[in-house]
Structure formats: structure tokens, C-alpha cells
């Protein structure tokens, strides 16, 4: 399918032991795939860590998927690992930064 033009920052989602690792652009075209990944079983520990170090862009469709995941967790917050500055800034502007826990590296 090389004749189909690919977005520059291809979206990827990878399941890990404690959550997911994401990369690329999360927008209206890729958010459904993310939502499907997030709809799977949550880690037994009850702590969900989403590594977003390689996420290049999020729009409101993408934010929605994170908000929905948070809602599924009940009182526990989703942990976002290695959030790029731009994503963190977007969460601040949209008043969502207090809804997530932020950690910097895998060792935190």
C-alpha cells in the first residue's frame, strides 16, 4: 500500500506490563485505534502507566480517549510517563493536568 500517503508521524501503540507505550500523532484518524487498545483489560495492579515520550501531537479526539481511560479507572489516576512539553502544555491549557499523574522516567 505504498501508494497511500502516510502521515509524517505514524501512530503506534504497544501494550506493556503496566499499560501502553504510544508514539506519533493522535488525532481523529488514530484515536479509534487508541480507544480500542485502551478498552482491553487494565493491569491487575490497578496502576496504569502510559508512556507518551514519543507522542508528537494530540488533538481533542486524542484527549478524549485519555479522559475516558481515566474515567474507567474510578478514583485512581492514569500516570503519564515522559510527557513531551507540548503535550503537557496542552493538558494545562485544557485544564486536564490535575486529572493525570506525571512521571519522568521509567524508574520513577
Amino acid at each position: 500500500m505504498s501508494d497511500v500517503s502516510e502521515p509524517v508521524n505514524r501512530f503506534q501503540v504497544l501494550a506493556t506490563d503496566d499499560g501502553w507505550e504510544l508514539a506519533g500523532d493522535i488525532d481523529a484518524s488514530t484515536a479509534p485505534e487508541l480507544a480500542e487498545a485502551f478498552s482491553g483489560a487494565l493491569p491487575a495492579s490497578g496502576v496504569v502507566v502510559v508512556d507518551i515520550a514519543d507522542v508528537t501531537f494530540i488533538d481533542s479526539s486524542g484527549l478524549r480517549v485519555f479522559v475516558d481511560l481515566n474515567a474507567r479507572m474510578g478514583s485512581e489516576m492514569v500516570t503519564l510517563r515522559s510527557a513531551p512539553r507540548n503535550v503537557r502544555r496542552l493538558l494545562e491549557l485544557t485544564g486536564l493536568s490535575s486529572s493525570f499523574r506525571f512521571v519522568e522516567t521509567a524508574d520513577d
Partner: protein
């Protein structure tokens, strides 16, 4: 795969079912009016001997079908529209009448709906096997062409995309020299869609033909056939036709009714060959026709769903803006073709001469986004009536939205302009900060509440008060105006601020036009802006 349908898919299927159905009836439901309506129907139909509880549709529904109604109502509440479902009614002497129904919600609170009924399994056109008396020829071509054609059609979102795909690939996969397809109109005619590479003279002459059995296209559609004839056979069978096929050098002509996935006939495809060796076999011809039929069906459904959602959105934005005391206002809204966004704005003028300004963006696209947008706007209109604190208004709307438990989210910026105090008081639920320009352009940071509708969210961020002491421009906008993926969001907002500053000396309408025109047209998102010019009334200024 057991995926839940999207509301667009349900709507498309509902519409497609309706378009091809001979409707038996329409029911409009409003729960608390049902009994009164039944009573009236009883007396109208002189059925007064039926017990006073009225006509009970539930009692007429056999137990095995009762789940269907409930499921449809759940569907309609959740998605706005249900799947088609079948049910039977038991009438007087135990006879059963079968019906197919679809329920479309027109409002959720109170729940109102409209249901369309058609005879069970009714089909608009007779369906018959391919006619055997017509000639069958057998050469074949590589399936690679067919595969590419199918893939291309799968991506067709509009009728034009289908025509283009047919032009490029149908002829190749069937070895033919000439191809067109025709769809039945409401006036018993066939509208012929010629491909762009068709001979313009032919295209002009054959634009619309009667839908009857006097032509190969008409007969194939009406009798659901797939046929290939030599040019001699054609002239013999359809004597009223001209000799265009011959003059084009065609030796064989064919037509096949096009089917959708669920077996409906949507039109007919017509082909011409110059070389007997290349004439496709009927099975292959029929497969191509059905590929096109399916693509047309999908394309027209999604076009219809899109245009419905777009008109819905247009209806929901204010048609006329009330004048503002001490100010002037321009709004702009730019839609995108391929999807319906959820941007909205509103301007509400109150009796105390204050004005509320609203801009927002629903998370998501399509009909559901329009529904959320409508709700947020109506909740806002209701809650500003007795309140003067924007952050309280946002909290009220947030609670109302959350109470419905539909996971609807929207960012929203709300400001109240008080021309007497000369103050603009603003609060935000996760929306982009306003830009204010008097001497220079300034981005006004407002402590952000989360978006409306976020579960477990606290709304305690409060307001920002902007004093207006000199002529000031205020810009509210949605992310379509700044969205650039390769740039930090703060940089994008600053760029917008300097753009406002650069054009600030022009008329308000010119500034609004310039800003919306400069929105990145590559952004696949709708865009709204609200531009306000506030002029403090000099007579009120204390000396």
C-alpha cells in the same frame, strides 16, 4: 469483529433503508403524550369498545418481539438512531402483521422519537436471476485489475470518487472500451453518469432516458439482469435505439443491474466492447457491477449523513446576533467538507444590558458532536438567565452535562460584558485563552477548569476580570485557527496574536475575514471565531 456501530453508520443504514422502502407508516413518540394520543385514535377509529387504557401496542406485540422495542429505544438514546429491527403485531383474530422499524431520537430529555415502519422485507424492485436467454461469452483477464478496482472503490467517499474509479479501472478490469452507469430518478427515468473520459457528444445526448424496457439499461435494471449482446442483437431487441454503438466501433454491449451488499438494486452499469476476445464473462461483469453498486450505496449514505449533520450544525448556530451595548461583534465559522466538527459560539444579550459571549468545541465529530453542542448551548442559555458569574455558569452546565452520563465533553470559554462597569469577566473550561488588543495584543491567561463533562472534575478555577478603559478588540477562537502540528501551541497562539495586532486598524469585518482566511486550510477541523470591539462609553467616564 464485534465492534459497536457508530452513530453515522446507524444513521446511514437507517437512511438507506428508508430511501429504498415503501413506507407503511410513521410514528412520532413523546412518552407523556402517548396515552392521550391513543385515546384520540380510539375515538377517531370508533374503537371505543376497546378498554379505556387505550390501544396497547405492547399488548399487540408477541412476547418474542418485545425485546426489540427496548433495544431500539436504548439504541436511539445512545446513538440517536436505532438499527432496523423486525417485529410482528397481533391483530384482532390472531393474524400477525410483520413490519420493519427504525427509531430516530429527536430529543433525549424528554425522550422523543420518530419511528418509520415498512412492510417486513419489502424490496423496491423485483429481484430475479440473470436472464439465461441472453448470450454468454467467456474470455477472462487477470484478477489483479479487479483487486485494484475493488480497493479503489472501497476508498470512495462521494459519487464523484466512484465515477473517477470507474473511469480509471472498470474499463481495464473488464477489457471494455466504453463504460457508464445509470441510477433511477424519482421521475421514472434513468440518469446516466458518464465517466470523464467518455465521448462528450455521447455524454450530452444520453443524459436521461425513460426507465422502461425499451433500452438495455432500463430492462436490465427493471428485470435485475446481467446481459451481453452483440450489436446486431441489440438493434433487433431494442429497435428504437440509435446506431451510436456501431458508430463508436463497438461490437458488443452489456448491462448489469448493480446490487448493494444486502441485495438491493441501486442502478445499472453499461459497457461496450470493441473486441470480442475481451468481452467479460457474465459472472465477472456482475461482480464488477455489484462492487460499483456497493460503493455508490456507501457513498450516497455517507454524503447524506454528512449533509444532514452539516445542516444540523448550521441550524444550531445562531442565525442572527443581537446588538451589543458598548460594542460591536463579528463571527466567522468555517466548516470542513469531510467531517462535521463540533465548534460552536453564541451571543446572549440580557435585560440589564450585559452580554454573554460563548465559544466552544465539542470533543468529537459528526451528529453526536452536534447533539452535544446543542445541549451545551441550550444549557448555557438557560443558566445565564439568573446568574452573573461566568465560572458558576460553567459549573452548572458541567453538572447538567455530566448528569446525563453520556461521556460528552466540550471545551468552552464564557465571558460576560458589563458595559456599565466596563468589565469583561471570563471563565474557561479548558478552552484556548482569549486575545485582547488595545495598544498591543495580549494573550489573557485564564485559570483553566477541565472541559465540561469530565467525570470527577472540580470546577474551582474562577474568573478573570478584564477592565476595558479604551477601545479594545477581543478575540475568541477555536483550535482550527491555530492548529499547526509542527509547532508548539504557545507559539501558534502568539502568531495569532501578532496577526491580530498587524490588522487591528482595519474594520472589524475585514479583520475577521483576514483571520479566518489565514486559518490553515490543511487542518481537517472546523474553525470558529468571535471578534468583539468594545468601546467604553466616554460619557460614563468619571472626570
Amino acid at each position: 469483529m464485534n465492534r459497536l456501530p457508530t452513530s453515522e453508520e446507524l444513521l446511514a443504514s437507517a437512511i438507506s433503508g428508508l430511501r429504498h422502502a415503501e413506507l407503511t407508516g410513521v410514528m412520532i413518540g413523546e412518552e407523556h403524550l402517548v396515552f392521550g394520543a391513543n385515546d384520540r385514535a380510539r375515538s377517531l377509529l370508533r374503537l371505543d369498545e376497546i378498554p379505556a387504557q387505550g390501544i396497547s401496542w405492547v399488548a399487540m406485540t408477541p412476547p418474542e418481539y418485545q425485546g426489540g422495542d427496548d433495544r431500539a429505544i436504548v439504541d436511539a438514546i445512545k446513538y440517536g438512531v436505532s438499527r432496523w429491527f423486525r417485529k410482528e403485531f397481533v391483530v384482532g383474530d390472531g393474524e400477525r402483521i410483520g413490519l420493519d422499524l427504525v427509531v430516530i431520537a429527536t430529543s433525549t430529555d424528554p425522550f422523543r422519537w420518530i419511528a418509520f415502519l415498512r412492510e417486513a422485507g419489502s424490496s423496491p424492485l423485483p429481484v430475479r436471476q440473470s436472464s439465461s436467454q441472453l448470450r454468454r461469452v467467456h474470455p477472462s483477464r487477470s484478477d489483479d485489475a479487479m483487486f485494484r478496482f475493488a480497493r479503489r472503490l472501497a476508498g470512495a467517499a462521494t459519487l464523484r470518487d466512484v465515477v473517477t474509479a470507474v473511469d480509471r479501472l472498470a474499463a481495464h478490469s473488464l477489457g471494455c472500451a466504453y463504460v457508464n452507469f445509470a441510477l433511477a430518478t424519482e421521475h421514472d427515468t434513468l440518469r446516466i453518469h458518464h465517466v470523464p473520459s467518455a465521448d462528450p457528444l455521447i455524454a450530452e445526448r444520453f443524459h436521461e432516458i425513460p426507465l422502461d424496457t425499451s433500452t438495455l439499461l432500463g430492462e436490465s435494471l427493471l428485470h435485475d439482469m446481467c446481459a451481453v449482446l452483440t450489436i446486431d442483437e441489440l438493434e433487433q431487441r431494442y429497435p428504437t435505439l440509435g446506431t451510436d454503438g456501431r458508430s463508436m466501433g463497438l461490437t458488443h454491449l452489456g448491462a448489469a443491474a448493480m446490487h448493494t451488499e444486502d441485495g438491493r438494486v441501486v442502478g445499472v452499469v453499461g459497457l461496450g466492447w470493441r473486441d470480442e476476445q475481451l468481452v467479460a464473462d457474465l459472472d465477472r461483469f456482475q461482480s464488477v457491477a455489484d462492487l460499483i453498486g456497493n460503493a455508490i450505496d456507501r457513498a450516497s449514505d455517507s454524503e447524506l449523513a454528512r449533509s444532514m449533520a452539516a445542516s444540523f450544525q448550521e441550524l444550531l448556530l445562531p442565525a442572527k446576533l443581537a446588538p451589543i451595548v458598548g460594542g460591536e461583534l463579528q463571527v466567522r465559522y468555517r466548516a470542513v467538507d469531510r467531517a462535521v466538527g463540533g465548534d460552536f459560539y453564541d451571543v446572549i444579550t440580557c435585560a440589564d444590558s450585559s452580554t454573554w459571549l460563548v465559544i466552544g468545541d465539542v470533543f468529537g465529530h459528526g451528529l453526536m458532536a452536534s447533539r452535544t453542542m446543542a445541549k451545551v448551548r441550550f444549557f448555557l442559555r438557560a443558566s445565564v438567565r439568573h446568574r452573573s458569574d461566568p465560572s458558576v455558569v460553567l459549573e452548572v452546565v458541567h453538572d447538567l452535562l455530566k448528569a446525563e452520563d453520556l461521556h460528552e465533553l466540550a471545551t468552552c470559554l464564557v465571558a460576560r460584558w458589563d458595559p456599565v462597569a466596563r468589565e469583561l469577566t471570563a471563565a474557561t473550561a479548558g478552552h484556548l485563552p482569549p486575545i485582547v488588543h488595545s495598544d498591543t495584543a495580549m494573550i489573557v491567561p485564564i485559570p483553566a477548569n477541565p472541559p465540561l463533562g469530565v467525570a470527577d472534575a472540580r470546577f474551582d478555577a474562577g474568573n478573570v476580570v478584564i477592565k476595558i478603559d479604551q477601545p479594545t478588540l477581543v478575540l475568541f477562537y477555536t483550535d482550527g485557527l491555530i492548529e499547526r502540528r509542527d509547532e508548539a501551541i504557545d507559539v501558534s497562539i502568539k502568531t495569532l496574536a501578532s496577526r491580530l495586532e498587524r490588522h487591528a486598524d482595519r474594520t472589524l469585518s475585514e479583520i475577521a475575514d483576514t483571520l479566518i482566511a489565514q486559518a490553515d486550510s490543511n487542518v481537517d477541523d472546523d474553525t470558529a471565531l468571535l471578534l468583539l470591539s468594545l468601546v467604553p462609553n466616554c460619557n460614563d467616564v468619571p472626570q
